[in-house]
Each structure stands twice: as C-alpha cells, then as structure tokens.
C-alpha cells in the first residue's frame, strides 16, 4: 500500500479484479469439463474427475491467498500479526483431511452393516412394495 503511488495502486486493484474474474471462469470451465459438459463422456473418467477437482481446489486456494494478501492488505501487516491469523486457520487443512478420512470410514461401516442386514449388497434398491421414502434404508440414516 504505502510503497505504491495512488495511480499505481488503483491500477493494481483493477488488475486484481480481472485476475479474480479470469480464475473464476477457469474454475467453472474445469468444473464443467470434469462433469462432461464440454467433452461428452469425460464425466465417466475418474482420472479427469480427480484432476479437475484438484485443479479447481488449488485455484480456489490461490484466490483465497490473493484476496487475503492484496485486498485485505495482509502483505503489508507485521509478520507476527499475519502469522497469528494464518497459522490457526492453516490447522483447518488437517481437520479437512481428518474428516474426509472419518467420512470414508463411516461409509465403509454403513456398507458393511447393510451387507450383513441384507445378506448381500443391496443399498439402493427399495423392495417392490415399499416405495415410501421412509422405507429406503440407507438413505434414511442421514
């Protein structure tokens, strides 16, 4: 902030605007690509699915970094203050990984219990006479 002239900093702001808009468009493009809206059939390819998801996530984190450092002026704050804000927030990455692991484990347990209940794997199929939502076993748990 203080190191730029008024005209320079205005230019930087509009540059930032075009940058964020462009990154958002790229994200939407990759999202639609991964879901087969741009090249039909690609939604069935899990490598495309995972890589587009990864690219989108990285771009989002970059957008977040840009907003915090440029728009919120974190770049110009004292280092200790920046760290006191960023380090606790950074711990959330650990929480995200841990809870994905946990969710996966819940899913495996649910599947296992359903297998034992039904004698086989039949999680999405309601019995012929039970068409009510309340009778569809797995869906009802959450």
């Amino acid at each position: 902030m203080s190191s730029h002239s008024y005209e320079e900093s205005i230019k930087l702001v509009y540059k930032g605007m075009w940058f964020l808009a462009a990154v958002t468009l790229i994200e939407v493009f990759f999202s639609l690509l991964g879901k087969g809206h741009i090249v039909a059939g690609w939604e069935d390819n899990y490598i495309v699915g995972y890589s587009t998801a990864f690219i989108i996530a990285v771009l989002s984190i970059y957008k977040a970094y840009f907003i915090i450092y440029e728009f919120m002026h974190m770049r110009y704050e004292a280092k200790g203050m920046a760290m006191s804000v960023l380090l606790p927030t950074g711990l959330l990455i650990w929480a995200v990984i841990a809870f994905f692991q946990e969710g996966n484990s819940w899913k495996e347990r649910n599947d296992k219990i359903d297998n034992m209940n039904n004698g086989k794997f039949e999680q999405m199929a309601p019995k012929k006479e039970s068409f009510n939502a309340k009778d569809t076993k797995v869906m009802d748990k959450f």
Binding site: A64, A78, K107, P126, F142
Partner: protein, 318 residues
Amino acid sequence: MATDTLDHSVDHDGHHNETTDWNGGNEPWRASYGKLMMWYFLVSDAFTFAGFLIAYGTLRVMSPSWPVADFVFSTAPFNNLGLGHGVPLPLIFVTFMSFLLILSSVTMVRAVQEGHRENKDGVAYWMLLTIIGGAGFLGCQAWEWSNLIWTENMTVTINPFGTHTEKGVYLNADGTESTDVFKPGQGYLLHMAGAHHGDDHHEGPHYESTPGDYKGYAVNEGGFILKKYKVTEGENAGKVMSEVHGPRAFGGLFFFITGFHGFHVFSGVVFLIIIMLNVMSGVYEKRKNGYEMVEKIGLYWHFVDLVWVFVFLVFYLL
C-alpha cells in the same frame, strides 16, 4: 497508513523497543486494537464456516450417492422466463453471483484507498457501489432459494435431487418400457404429483396425485412421483425399481451454509450502509485516522467474499 506515524516503538519488522513497550499507547504489530480484533473475529468466523463445510464434505464422502451440483444448479431466472426454456445452464447463474461479489470486493478496496487519501466523497461513492453489489448478490440468492423451495420442492429435510447408481431405462406411466435411458452418476429431480412444473404440464403423461403404487411410477406420502425403471446392467439387471429421494442431509446443508453466508452478506450490507452514512455526515473525517472504520468493514467484506470462494468450491464446483 496514518497509524504508522503514531507508533515509534515498533521498528520496520514489527519488533518492539522494550523500554517503551509497557508504557501504554503502543500498537503491537503496527495494527490498531479495532483492526486486530476484526482480524481475530474473522479467524473465529472462519472456524465456524470451516465447521459447516467440513460437515458437508464428511457427509458427502460417507453417502453412497450425492446430488450432482451441475444438475441441481442448472437454472437461472432467464431460462425460466422463456429465454431458452428448459435448456440447462449449469453453474452459469452462480458464476454470475460470484462475479457480483468479486466486483463489490473491488469497489470496497477503492473505498479504502480513497479513505487513505481522506477523500470523503470518494469513500461514500465507492461504498455505495459496494452496497449495490452486495444487495444484488442477496437478490440472486433470494431467487435461487425460492426456485429451490417453490419450484423444485427442496426443504431442510426433503431432498428431491437423487442420483442414479446403476444403468437403466425408465418405464412409461402405463408401465411399458420407454426409450429414456440413464447411466450411473446421472442426476434426477423428483417432481410433485399434481403440480404443474417444468415440461410436464404441456404434453407429459398424467400422474395420479394420491399416494400409491401405480404401473410405471409410485407416489409417496410426501406427494413426490417416484418413476420406475428397469435396471439394465449389474447384479440387479432386469429388476424394476423406483426412484428414491436423495441424501436427506443435502437440503439442510445447502440452506444452512448458503443461508449463514447470506446472513453475513446481509449484515455486511447493513454495516456498510451505517458506515457510509457516517462517512457522509463527516464522523470519520474528524477522526483524522485515514477512515480506519472503512478499512475495518472492508476487512469484513473481503472475508465474506473469501468465504464465498470456498462455498462456491465445495457446493457448486466439486
């Protein structure tokens, strides 16, 4: 910044001169009390949002299937009003909403810059544009919500968006096989029986509205039509089954997370209006601190934009 000139006890890297540190009047880390506390409020708010989004991710990972975002969010006001009727516009409307928030963030930065120059009119002008951007975003969200609630019948506990997990072909209302095939991962929307919705009320088949089991479909207690289909591949091949509701948690997560974010935008707009009025009446001009109050509400406003980056990521893009 105006605060730089007030504080001589802290050198360029933020290190303290210990002899004067405890005499009062110092600003640790070269940030005023108000700005520092705004940052820490935002940290706590980030944890709340992270709690919500992590809950969303966990429930999504543990579910056998999940509504397909580009199918759920494929409507926009203009494609319901006749322009390209029924043409899916996946994610287009929500991208427009994201642009609105980015734009209002940019105008907010401009307001803060004008504040540093003590340019009263400039601050008020750019804050007004920011308010318009925020209000526009809220309007879009109101449309999105009312479309989901009244047109697509989604509530906190009822989720009409399901996803196929098998390959199959739909049955016609009279129980004969149709040509409408689907594959795993394809989304579907359960329609209300008897309601006029979408394409069905023009030439679509007639569906009974009383709950019961019919030839090509069933109507559940909630009044939703569950179309029947024949599985064509896998271990259930040949079986006739009916559609089921999608994971129940989806509606609650959607309304609570986007609602919590929307409430942040709403309170942001309210605070922006109050501070803009204060700017215009010269309250901050007298303080001679480079419109620090505008800087603080600016931090909050950018944070709202920041949270939207992640709501946009987990709800709409992934």
